[in-house]
Point group: C2
Chain length 893, copies 2
């Protein structure tokens, strides 16, 4: 016969799957010998049986009977006893807490007769009727599904009649009246009487908790969070204790260390003459825990002893709830406590020093997400602010500056020493210079994976995007906000990339010491460093000795490369060459794109060669001694030309005005010719290299010449050449042949050896599916997980966000954007296939990742588990990747 | 020791892999006892060994010695004998013939001394020197790689000196002089003497044949045709016989049946006093074979006997080459002969009637590609024509009509009874009505998979696309062709969709009787039917009893459905609903797209409901009793709106002129809002269904109401509902829930049962990779191989063609467009994964294909082999699919 009910003494903390988090920890404390009100837990298995069949499993009734008997014996009271009734709390307890699920019904066991017994036993009429009122209300709303407003209306009327605004203004008689009225509400709204049989109250509540597993909000939440639908919830039934039985009673919550800073020493709040929910509700001001010492030194001493015991036992910061009933301390809940990001690092190191955990365990206790939060400046917490709007928290940090509406203005004003916020409707690659110059970026449109968001995160620039309440009028150089509030160019704005808030005016900013440490401007051994920086440093050092994955950075310029190096990158995994084609070089690129003859094309390429060479010299110099993976040109050529619609309008208007510009007309013809319905899936990447003769050759030549120049000057250069968008081995073969020939030619010309590994991006499903063939021509694979996600799902990042992501998230179809965290089932499966089959062909092939996911904690764990060799991410994400790679290695060495 | 050389007597016809086609068939004839000049074949294995090591395998020399000895003994002559030398031919013989490979060197064995012996033995000086001349020239060009122009110059000079334009004008002395000059060319150009040692001649030639396997053209060809690079070629060495030894000698080629019509009876050409190559070169007029009977009745009788033997032996039409040397018949080659599409069907049936093959074998002897050719009308072969340009042969057939430049004109003039050719720069969905109305479609841009091509093929409409020499000026309503030739609207044009030719004026057209048969207007039992139609009918009937795959059609209208049914479709596998949103309904759709409020949207949907219902009633009625799979709306909504650029220009010009149109401005805002950078990968398919509340519900309701109406009238309706672009099971679940609810609601309302299977397209890699999950909610999968190819390769069909396909084909990166024949390694692998895992979840899931590949012969074989249940293709392709499905079943039952 299945065991569906566990007395607290029968469980322990590792039975969360069966008893839920709450039940497992109550069992643990019971077995540790702490004072826990007696009780038992109905298992998740019982819930699953109920949900599968729609009826309570037949064995359950007997088992509850038995445990209820034991509980009554232990408590020395009986449910429904008209003299001194036992009351119980009934709480749900799933493995994961879930919004929408029923949580708690207190005071089960009261009825019209036992309420009198309770009053007598407690010597407090008001207390008894108030408890009964709470039961009817909680039971009515959560078990019977009656709208809480009906109860509120009754209660408000009672207070009005008594002329009080406060619950405490109602006396026992008033509350008795309220109970009667509540029972009438139950009768009227549910068509049944409030059940007088305490066992019926209990059974109905248990069943309601079970049923709430499938409440719509819970289903949506599970779907979104990818929590299996069939786990079910446990139900804990526990004898009530009361903190509201007078001044020698009270309730409190406490942490074993300060969860905000990690500082050692207990930390908590206490409220005399109150139940637990009153502490949280903030009806009266709570007292700091130290006041309890004065009020009730014995209980205080017991509490401190319990907390010390718990921390040693759980080997972590614990968070507890307790109640003192007439001078007796009861432990009602404990769990490993939440904490701030900074506290996590500090506490982990403290616990190592205390000998409670080892350094590996300390790494397990901190996360990359916490580290990210520590790297950003933030607004001073006590500053007064005026919120203009709230957009999406696209790239964390706090930035203040003058609003500017285009890239040139941003660059000019920044060059003049001014802090600026670049404000755009949405950004595109032309805004890059402005984004670099600005302190922060604000857009009116686009989601967390829009161009602005992705680029800003990549460069660690603060960004709020999709602030849809703001009408960004770039032409008029102003923002119009809700209620007509206007921000003109030059007006000060502040944006918080961690919350999405946009403030009017300048809000004072506090720098991040952790960032200063990574940037190298704060020595962790110096006295200025503080405990947090020392803890981060210690854990990063341990991470570097623990991880197996190399961590490369995506960096296109010497400055980015230098930063990546400071942040601890082991090399560059993605040096894009397309940004090198923008800015001043637009003119040469236009000549290349517009070339009508081979000679014109070759001339344009010849002009680009020395510029590219200089780019590479800069990057190689910054990274000397470390590998630099250069990706040959990837985006469609027309990205370097004006927008078709804008140009068409310009030409049409010029014609209308009789002032035709021949150059514009020629340009328009080229733009039309190159226009593609779906440019992401058109002529780009290796296709360009094959269709535009000499283009990739020029790039390889620039790489070779840069490497040769530096080598002759004794600089160690380790270039690798990466071919984008390969779908078939034949494409890679063609480029590899050309590349090898150019390298050999330049090696001979310069009289130096020029060995550069040639590899490919794996960013198309077909590349992954034919990786065994492609590996014949590739010395390394770099998974381009952005494009691979786009093609695997068949949606483009730019388009989906606005169009349907939000609706998908709402409906729980997505838990998280597959552009943020790798979709293991689809994209991950392709990576697994490609890794396995690539290695089968070429056992020493190097495998890495250079998409956005290279810096995402969950995704890094997957990459480690699949045995990849490296991840490459934006410089700013390098510390996170170092940390998470180590954590992944601890998970599965 | 490997056996590298096979005497003819040691081989047989099934050793093609080892002996090449030529060598295997010579061996077969030898063993059949036919008179074949003696010889031997060096195997492909020897070639492979040579190519792998770069040196001739050491065993080869000895083996050649031995076989050469045997050959000399058999021939009774010795190589290089100064009195009566043996001459041999050396020919390559791969399994697949390949352009760029060396083919033949004749007369090997002649040198300065044996040429005199040959002259004496033959009693013909001129013959001997002419033979020597041929050897030096062939050896010089093919073995030594000397440019043939150098030899031509010498020969032309000799003819000039003699004052003759004809080879025969040169006498023995002249030719001796030519040989001397040729040898000087060899010396000068190759730096070596023409080798006098016959064995050296032989060895060098064999090595050159081996080496030619890796000639660049051969490599490119193999790459394109996906022929493995390591097969190698065989080399056949055979005693020469001479048809040019006088009037009692001669050469000929013959077929055992007429390869043009399939008519029984031999058919061939003979040329007295000539070698085989002279017959082919057409130097003199050949005689029909019957003339040989008069010239040499014995040889003629022997030849006929040999041909009868060969046909019985090969059980097929044979194609032979023979030489008569001084009254003695020699068989030089045989192979199964090429034939026209019509002859293939006729011959296959004749052979069944002759008892040589069974009906299954007859099916193996014809192909879907042949059937397609038979289904189109063609231009009368003897008509005089003026070619205006040649484009791509996008959709076969022959069409003549007046040029028109837009869809409305096409519709109007066609309605008035005129035949028209719709001429566009390129087509888009708005041209559909015009394409239907026209006899043919001509575009100046786009490839074989452009919109025009795909749609035209789909409806069996003749199409020539990408005729880039034509400047199509739609505004000026004219075409300007090469040399300024102008075609104005209304001028007559003719286009041949099988060749890509565009003709000026009307060219007379001959209808296809096979098409008339499929259309049901020609009864195969009637006397008018003719042998071809009877043969097609017989083989189609056998195909239908043989195939396992069901053949469905893609059809969106009642008319298409009716045609599909006539063509033998077993149901509709893809009924697109987007075409139903075009034309007159554009207005309602615009209202839907522009809807600002729920009420506006619901009103627009309500207007569309009865229109959709009428569409479905029409299709269901046409297909009664057979399944109809309806795909819910797929394309991005903005496809139903005007083009962004055009509209932007219109609005800008209107503003400039001070005549702003408020409706246009509102429309522009909507178009901008809906604009996507990559619409193919944006808001479409199931995403639309989830984001636009009520849209799919309306469609399902229309289906349900149509089905209910017809069922109540006793019509058997079998609707199935197909959800497009699903990437995650959660999407399908959401739609399936809504669909089931609507079906249940309508079933109750109408009091009929409404069961409709709910399935999904598998057209995204992720859908294939998670098919095991998706199958939980899908009763069938339909692989949308067009989109699956796009996403797997990461290119969009519309964009790639012009941009890079031609270059890819040229460079051998693609053998054939993956949009025409399924890419087995990439897309095929996904289909295999999805089929296997879908069935693992739901063993009775139905699996089909509804992309273009459903009608492609090679792809159909793959689908059969993967165990799919059906293919769905355009109605016009249904007969092909029926035939090829049967052939696939014979291949692997």
């Amino acid at each position: 016969m299945p065991k569906y009910v566990y007395a607290f003494a029968e469980g322990h903390k590792d039975l969360k799957d069966l008893l839920g988090g709450k039940g497992a920890n109550l069992a643990e404390m019971t077995n540790m010998g702490l004072a826990v009100p007696p009780g038992f837990t109905i298992t998740t298995a019982a819930c699953r049986a109920f949900l599968a069949t729609g009826i309570q499993p037949p064995e359950l009734d007997d088992q509850v009977d038995r445990h209820l008997d034991a509980l009554q014996t232990a408590a020395g009271r009986r449910l429904g006893d008209p003299d001194d009734p036992l009351l119980v709390s009934v709480r749900s307890g799933a493995v994961f807490s879930m919004p929408g699920m029923m949580e708690t019904v207190l005071d089960v066991g009261l009825n019209d007769s036992s309420v009198l017994g309770l009053a007598r036993a407690a010597g407090d009429d008001r207390f008894a009727w108030d408890s009964y009122r709470r039961l009817v209300q909680m039971f009515g709303t959560t078990v019977l599904g009656i709208d809480g407003a009906h109860f509120d209306a009754v209660f408000d009327a009672a207070k009005l009649a008594r002329g009080t605004a406060d619950d405490l203004g109602l006396d026992a008689d008033d509350l008795r009246g309220v109970v009667g009225a509540y029972q009438a509400v139950v009768r009227e709204r549910s068509g049944r009487e409030f059940p007088q049989d305490p066992r019926e109250q209990l059974d109905l509540t248990v069943r309601a908790v079970f049923g709430s597993w499938n409440a719509p909000r819970a289903i949506t939440y599970r779907r979104r969070e990818r929590i299996p639908a069939d786990l079910g919830t446990a139900v804990t039934v526990q004898a009530m204790v009361f903190g509201n039985l007078g001044p020698d009673s009270g309730s409190g919550v406490a942490f074993t260390r300060d969860p905000a800073t990690g500082e050692p020493g207990v930390y908590g709040d206490y409220l005399a003459h109150a139940q637990g929910e009153d502490v949280v509700a903030g009806i009266r001001n709570t007292l700091p825990l130290s006041e309890l010492e004065r009020l009730d030194p014995v209980s205080h001493r017991d509490l401190l002893a319990n907390m010390a015991t718990l921390e040693r036992h759980y080997r972590d910061l614990c968070d507890i709830e307790f109640t003192i009933e007439r001078g007796r301390l009861w432990m009602l809940q404990t769990r490993v406590g939440k904490r701030t990001a900074g506290a996590a690092f500090v506490i982990a190191c403290q616990l190592v020093d205390d000998g409670l955990i080892d350094a590996d365990e300390a790494l397990r206790r901190v996360t990359g997400a916490q580290l990210v939060r520590l790297m950003f400046p933030r607004f001073a917490p006590d500053a007064a602010t005026t919120v203009l709007a709230v957009g999406m928290n696209a790239s964390p940090g706090a930035a203040t500056g003058a609003a500017v509406f285009d890239s040139p203005t941003a660059v000019a004003r920044a060059a003049a020493g001014e802090d600026v916020i670049l404000v755009r409707r949405e950004t595109n690659p032309d805004d890059l210079a402005g984004m670099i110059a600005a302190k922060g970026v604000l857009t009116g449109r686009g989601g967390r994976t829009s161009h602005a968001a992705v680029v800003a995160r990549g460069m660690g620039r603060t960004c709020v995007c999709g602030a849809e309440d703001l009408d960004v009028d770039v032409d008029a150089r102003k923002i119009v906000g809700p209620g007509g509030v206007m921000v003109a160019e030059g007006d000060l704005l502040s944006i918080d990339g961690s919350t999405g808030e946009v403030f009017l005016g300048a809000v004072p900013v506090v720098a991040s010491p952790v960032m200063e440490y990574f940037e190298g401007s704060l020595d962790p051994a110096s006295p200025e460093a503080g405990e947090l920086v020392r803890a981060v440093h210690r854990l990063m050092e341990h991470a570097d000795t623990t991880r197996r994955l190399a961590v490369y950075a995506n960096a296109d310029t010497g400055a980015d490369a230098a930063r990546a190096r400071r942040f601890g990158a082991d090399g560059i995994g993605l040096c894009r060459t397309e940004h090198m084609f923008l800015g001043d070089r637009r003119e040469q690129v236009e000549r290349l794109v517009l070339a009508d003859t081979d000679a014109e094309r070759d001339a344009a390429l010849a002009e680009l060669l020395p510029l590219q060479r200089a780019d590479f010299i800069e990057v190689f110099t910054a990274m000397q001694g470390l590998p630099v993976t250069i990706r040959l040109l990837d985006p469609p050529l027309h990205e370097f030309l004006p927008d078709l619609t804008e140009l068409s309008v310009r030409v049409a208007l010029a014609e209308e005005r009789g002032r035709v510009d021949a150059a514009d007309v020629r340009l328009l013809a080229a733009v039309r010719r190159l226009h593609e319905e779906n440019p992401m899936f058109g002529l780009r990447g290796v296709r360009l290299g094959i269709v535009v003769p000499g283009l990739f050759g020029m790039q390889v030549r620039a790489i070779a010449q840069a490497a040769a120049t530096l080598r002759r000057n004794g600089v160690e250069v380790r270039p690798e050449i990466m071919v984008p968008l390969v779908g078939a081995v034949q494409e890679l073969q063609a480029v590899a042949e050309e590349t090898s020939a150019v390298l050999a030619d330049e090696a001979e010309r310069h009289g130096v050896e020029l060995d550069a590994a040639i590899g490919t991006m794996i960013e198309l499903p077909r590349a992954a599916l034919t990786a065994g063939q492609i590996a014949e021509s590739a010395e390394f694979f770099s998974f381009g997980t952005n494009d691979l996600t786009q093609t695997t799902w068949g949606f483009s990042r730019d388009d989906v966000e606005g169009a349907f992501f939000s609706r998908y998230l709402e409906r729980g179809i997505f838990g998280t954007s597959p552009f943020e965290t790798l979709d293991i089932d689809g994209v991950g499966r392709l990576i697994r296939i490609a890794a396995r089959e690539g290695r089968a062909t070429r056992p020493d092939i190097r495998l890495g990742v250079c998409g956005e996911h290279g810096g995402d904690p969950d995704s890094i764990h997957f990459f480690h588990h699949e045995g990849l060799d490296y991840v490459s991410c934006s410089p700013f994400r390098v510390p996170v990747a170092r940390l998470e790679s180590a954590r992944a290695a601890l998970d599965l060495p």
